[in-house]
Symmetry: C2
Subunit: 264 residues, 2 copies
Amino acid sequence: MSAFKSYNEPVIGIVGGMGPQAGVMLCNQIVSCTDAYLDQQHLPVILMSFPERIADRTAFLEGYVKTNPAYQIVKVIQQLERAGASIVGMACNTSHAGPILDVILEELDVRGSNVKLLNMPAETCHYLSYNHPEIKRVGLMATNGTYRSGVYETLLRKNGYVVVQPDLSFQEEVIHRMIYDPIIGIKANPDNSAERVKHLTEKALCFFRNNDAQAIILGCTELSLVLTDSEAEGMVIVDSTKALAKALVNEATYARNIRKKLLI
Amino acid sequence: MSAFKSYNEPVIGIVGGMGPQAGVMLCNQIVSCTDAYLDQQHLPVILMSFPERIADRTAFLEGYVKTNPAYQIVKVIQQLERAGASIVGMACNTSHAGPILDVILEELDVRGSNVKLLNMPAETCHYLSYNHPEIKRVGLMATNGTYRSGVYETLLRKNGYVVVQPDLSFQEEVIHRMIYDPIIGIKANPDNSAERVKHLTEKALCFFRNNDAQAIILGCTELSLVLTDSEAEGMVIVDSTKALAKALVNEATYARNIRKKLLI
C-alpha cells in the first residue's frame, strides 16, 4: 500500500540498471524536458536500478545466457507499480527486442499489472517523424542484440523509411565494440568514454555518411554518452533516451492535467 | 514485502526531488564512483523523486512555509525502505539543517525504521579532511537555509577549520540568487545555468579568493551544476554530492562484502 495514496499525481517509473548510466540519463532527460522553474513543478519519478539482477540483454539474445532477462525486468516493473508508478519506461533499447519484450508484456498481462509501459523504439520513430518529416534514409547504431533482433529495422520499414545498417562484421568490430569493449567501451568508462572510442565513433559516422544516411538513431542508451550533439557531419542524431523521456513527460503531464480537471 | 528477498545485496536509497536534478546527479556520481566494467557489477540504487510533495527547505527555514518538509521526507525514506533500501542518502544539503534533520531522525526512530541514513555535510567534511589534510581555511557556498542554519559552520569549526562566509547581503544577492533566481538561477535552468549565472559565480569566487579560502565547499547540490571542476582560481572545490556518493558506495560495498563473507 502506497503511503502517498492521497496524491493525485501520476508517477513515472524507470527500469534502470541496463546499464546503470542509461537509467540515470533517462531521469536526467525527464528533468530537462519538463517545463519548470521551481522544484515543486517537476514530475514525480521513481528509478529502480538493480544491475546485478538483470542478465545482459544482448548476451541472452545471442545465446550466451539462457535466462531471459524479461522475468527480472517484470519484477522491477511490479515493484515500481507497488511503489506508486503508473507510467513506465525501460532505459534500454535491447530489452525491447521481441524475445524479451513479448515475454515482459505477456507476464505483465498474466499478473494483472496496470502500468502503461511505453515502447522506446516506437517513441524514437515517432520523435523522428514528428520532428524531421523530411528525412527518409535512417542509419541505426545499436548493440548486436538490437541489431540482430531487427526491432528498429522492422519499425522503420513499416513507417516508410530506408534503413542504413552496416554488415555484421562492421557492426561487431565497430559499433558493438564502442559499447561493450571491456577496456575502451562505454560501459567500462561511463565518465570518459568519448575520447576512448573516438576512432570507432569516427569510423561509424563515416560509414553512415558514405551511405547517404540523413539521420542516425542512437538505438542504444549508452551511445548518448558519446554522441551528445543533435547533428554530426550533416546527419541528424536521434537520441532514443531523449525521445523516451519526452514521451514519458508528455504522458505524465497529460494524465496530471486530466486528473486535475476531474478533481475540479 | 520485497519481491527480491533472495538477493543479499544492500540497496542504496536516494531521497531525490530536492531539487530533481540533484537526486539524478547523486545517482550519476554513484555510478561514476563505482569500480565496474560490466553493468552487473554496479550497485543497486532506488531513487524516489517526488518534488511536488516536499516543501522548499529554505522557505521553511526562513519562515515562509509552515509545514516542516521533514514529515514528507520521512515518508519517502519509509517508502524506500519498503522497496528494499537499507542505506539512504538525501540529495539536498538544506534538509540537513537542524530544524529539519532532527525531526527526520526522531520520526524515523519513532516509526522503527532500520535504514542507515548518511549525513551529507558530515560526509563532505570527512571527504575534505581525508583528501586535503593540508587545508585549514574553508569557504562555504550554500542556500540561505543552510547558511543561516549554521550546519556546515558548526561542523567545520568543530573539526578545527576556519570558516570563510560572506555577510548576509552578499549571501542573498550573489550566492542564494545563483540557485534560486527565477530567471537566471540554476533551479530554473538546470541545463544551461553555467552561462547564465557566470557573473555571479565569478563574484563569489572572487570573494572567497580575496578572503584566502583554500577550498570551497559546494554546500548546495545545485551548485555542482555550475562549478564542475575540482579547482577554481587556485581553490579546491569540494562537491557535497560527490562526497555523499563516495560514502554511499563505500558503505554499500562494505555491507555487500560482509554479507558475501557470511554466506561463505
